[in-house]
């Protein structure tokens, strides 16, 4: 084995082979992951539009972005949107997982049906929902009218425009939380519950004192993933509303897309992407900290 002495006399010998073996993959990762990130960071300090050479402009893109009320609105909207959908997905996913943790007829079929939305292509799913929710000829309004509920003007102004987005997102991504929670639930030992029952614990007590603490690490991992993915939500919003009406459903990824690919301000778009990383970190930090505390 190729060994080399690192450091002076008296130090332990370090095997260089693992480092050599890791070098190709580390180089590749650096080029593929760090490279574009560094490029985006550098770009964010330039004024760069097609046909013009990039010009260094210091922190102007960051200042201009922070001064833009549409950006601030997008941040607020994005944070509220993330909190809403991740909370709902958590509750729906956990609820479904708890139901699936019991034996009942056709359970495998139910598992498949509940997971199905997650397996469908996002674009197909969103287009399907767009037709279902169409106020003029959508099936949802038709079904509502059958039971005597007046037609809902989906995609109307204000909060109404966000409702279809939240519905589609929760429908699409709750199965992700469900899978994680269900996997964690199936790994729990039944003996703990038997012991709790002997001690006289009620079902609710068993859930809050035993189930939830034991599956919490898995749920936290799921939540971190969902927060990271939810912050950069783009496809659902773009296909359903394109950020409208007005900017009522304009969230950060829509703002970034417009800056970069509608207005062709690549430097400004890069600055927005850096802000998105920071916001993601802030939102996920608490959960990551909690997760490390519980796991390690």
């Amino acid at each position: 084995m190729n060994q080399s002495r690192i450091g002076g006399l008296g130090r332990r010998r370090v095997d260089a082979t693992p480092f050599l073996l890791l070098t190709p993959i580390l180089t590749m990762l650096t080029l593929l992951i760090l490279g574009p990130e560094i490029w985006a960071l550098l770009l964010s300090f330039t004024e760069y539009s097609p046909g013009y050479a990039p010009q260094f402009n210091g922190i102007k893109n960051y200042v201009d972005t922070l001064k833009d009320p549409i950006f601030i609105d997008s941040v607020v909207r994005n944070v509220l949107f993330v909190l809403a959908i991740v909370s709902l997905e958590f509750l729906v996913g956990l609820g479904c997982a708890l139901l699936l943790d019991h034996d009942f007829p056709l359970k495998k079929l139910w598992v498949s049906l509940l997971i199905a939305p997650y397996a469908i292509s996002p674009v197909v799913a969103v287009v399907m929902w767009r037709f279902l929710l169409d106020p003029s000829y959508g099936a949802v309004n038709y079904l509502l009218s059958v039971v005597g509920i007046p037609a809902v003007a989906w995609f109307g102004p204000g909060l109404r425009s966000f409702v279809p987005i939240v519905i589609v997102d929760v429908w699409k991504f709750s199965p992700f939380m469900m899978i994680i929670a269900y996997a964690a639930l199936t790994s729990l030992s039944r003996e703990v519950y038997e012991a709790a029952a002997i001690d006289g614990a009620s079902g609710i007590q068993a859930f809050f004192r035993i189930t939830l603490p034991l599956i919490a690490p898995a749920l936290l991992v799921g939540l971190v993933f969902r927060i990271i993915f939810a912050i950069r939500t783009f496809g659902i919003v773009w296909i359903l509303t394109k950020g409208g009406p007005g900017n009522d459903t304009g969230i950060l990824a829509i703002y970034l897309y417009k800056q970069s690919f509608r207005f062709y301000y690549f430097g400004r778009g890069a600055a927005v992407s850096i802000f998105m990383v920071i916001i993601t970190f802030i939102l996920a930090f608490g959960i990551i900290k909690q997760m490390y505390r519980r796991i390690f």
Binding site: D134, A153, F155, P157, L240, K242, G244, P245, F261
Partner: protein
């Protein structure tokens, strides 16, 4: 020595053969365009000849269309334009993208035109369209497809609801929309009026409405007049229609596909389309309302009507063919533009459903939508002047329209704010 001589002769001969075979191979021409340009050039509907195949035969070329939605064609222009060399040769462009900067991405055409002129170019092609893409005396793009946006009315619905003719004034338009909005026995609603409502689409259409009062959003001299009475009246008209439920409640998300679907299903009494959409909307294989959808002129406010013209001038739009600066075979690219620019080729493209940019072909057309365009073209102009950052301007205009029409904000105050925003960022 003799062996070497024979060997080298064989090698030379075989090399020559290879070279000969190479020159016999078709030259490649790659075209970036919207899907419709490929459809009309290749005669997809079976009515016109396949002009691309004829070009390929004549010039021993292989033409490949790479097709994208309009905004992605613009994206391609901005990405490929700055390159000194690229595989793509021709790109289709619209007037809103015309600026000194984008002209730098394209090959000047005067030399080509002098050496191999397009048949009757001076008289057959509208000079205004050529002017849009002329910088420093150099033409940069040739109009290939042109038309206007016009209202189509459903004559069955009009007859059933007691509306005798298409409205001539904005007030009549509102009344007609009111009369033709109703609920079918099935519970489905028929809307009196609709125009595409996404921000980018309504931004382009706002000038059409303001021109019912002879106004503009940004005039051809780049003066921002978005807060002047014609635009305010147009905004208030749209707001009234939306708030009274004469337009679909999801109007802000209605795009091209959705408005065509609603129109062909008989769910819209008046809807805005390209004037050349008559064959599409009245196609009996796809439309429930085939034969009922009639193109008309935009109304015009009474005070602006004259003996010469009693209709709004809508706007003229056109697509033009340009040669990318990085094209590796500009001669072949020009050969294509010249070939497809002849009267014969343009007539075939028209049969395939192309909106006609060739004056002589347009005059011979019997399509009612083309007749609308023919009457309107001498008075009309593009929706916006050319500018570098049309995307950003369209966003601001569309945003303003949504704020007034959907969110119910005050038209004058919102337009005043939009004017300031536009003036601060517009580049041309």
């Amino acid at each position: 020595m003799g062996f070497l001589l024979v060997f080298s002769m064989v090698l030379f001969a075989s090399g020559g053969k290879e070279e000969g075979a190479k020159t016999a191979e078709p030259r490649e021409l790659i075209i970036i365009s919207h899907r419709v340009h490929k459809a009309v050039a290749t005669g997809e509907n079976g009515k016109g000849r396949n002009m691309v195949a004829e070009f390929e035969d004549k010039f021993n070329a292989k033409v490949t269309f790479q097709t994208y939605p309009t905004n992605e064609v613009q994206d391609k222009l901005f990405r490929l334009g700055p390159l000194s060399k690229c595989d793509e040769d021709i790109i289709y462009v619209v007037p809103q993208w015309s600026s000194r900067q984008t002209a730098k991405f394209l090959t000047p055409m005067n030399d080509f035109m002098n050496k191999k002129p397009i048949e009757n170019f001076e008289t057959a092609y509208p000079p205004g369209m050529a002017k849009t893409w002329t910088y420093n005396g150099q033409l940069h793009a040739i109009a290939a497809r042109a038309g206007t946006s016009s209202p189509f009315y459903n004559k069955r619905i009009f007859a059933e609801r007691g509306v005798s003719r298409f409205p001539k004034t904005p007030e009549e338009l509102l009344e007609a929309a009111r009369k033709t909005t109703y609920t079918l026995p099935s519970g489905e609603k028929v809307f009196g009026f609709c125009v595409r409502g996404t921000k980018w689409e309504i931004a382009e259409k706002l000038p059409v409405f303001s021109r019912m009062w002879e106004g503009d959003v940004i005039d051809m001299d780049h003066k921002v007049v978005i807060n002047e009475p014609p635009v305010i009246k147009a905004l208030n008209l749209l707001r009234t229609m939306y708030s009274e439920g004469l337009m679909p409640p999801n109007w802000g998300t209605i795009d091209y596909a959705e408005i065509v679907k609603l129109t062909m299903e008989g769910r819209l009494a008046i809807s805005m389309h390209g004037a050349n959409y008559s064959p599409t909307l009245n196609n009996p294989e796809k439309s429930k309302e085939a034969g009922n959808l009639i193109p008309a002129h935009m109304p015009l406010a009474k005070e602006f009507q004259t003996a010469e013209r009693d209709f709004g001038v809508s706007f003229v739009w056109f697509w033009a063919q340009a040669i990318l600066n990085g094209s590796s075979d500009k001669d072949l690219a020009w050969d294509f533009i010249q070939f497809i620019g002849s009267k014969d080729a343009r007539a075939e493209l028209a049969k395939s459903g192309n909106a006609i940019a060739h004056i002589e072909v347009m005059q011979a057309s019997t399509d009612p939508g083309i007749a609308i365009y023919r009457e309107l073209a001498p008075f009309s102009r593009p929706a916006f002047p050319g500018m570098e950052n049309y995307g950003e301007i369209a966003e601001l205009v569309g945003d303003m329209v949504h704020k007034v029409v959907i969110q119910g904000q005050d038209a004058q105050a919102t337009a005043d704010a939009a004017k300031k925003q536009i003036e601060a960022v517009m580049k041309y």
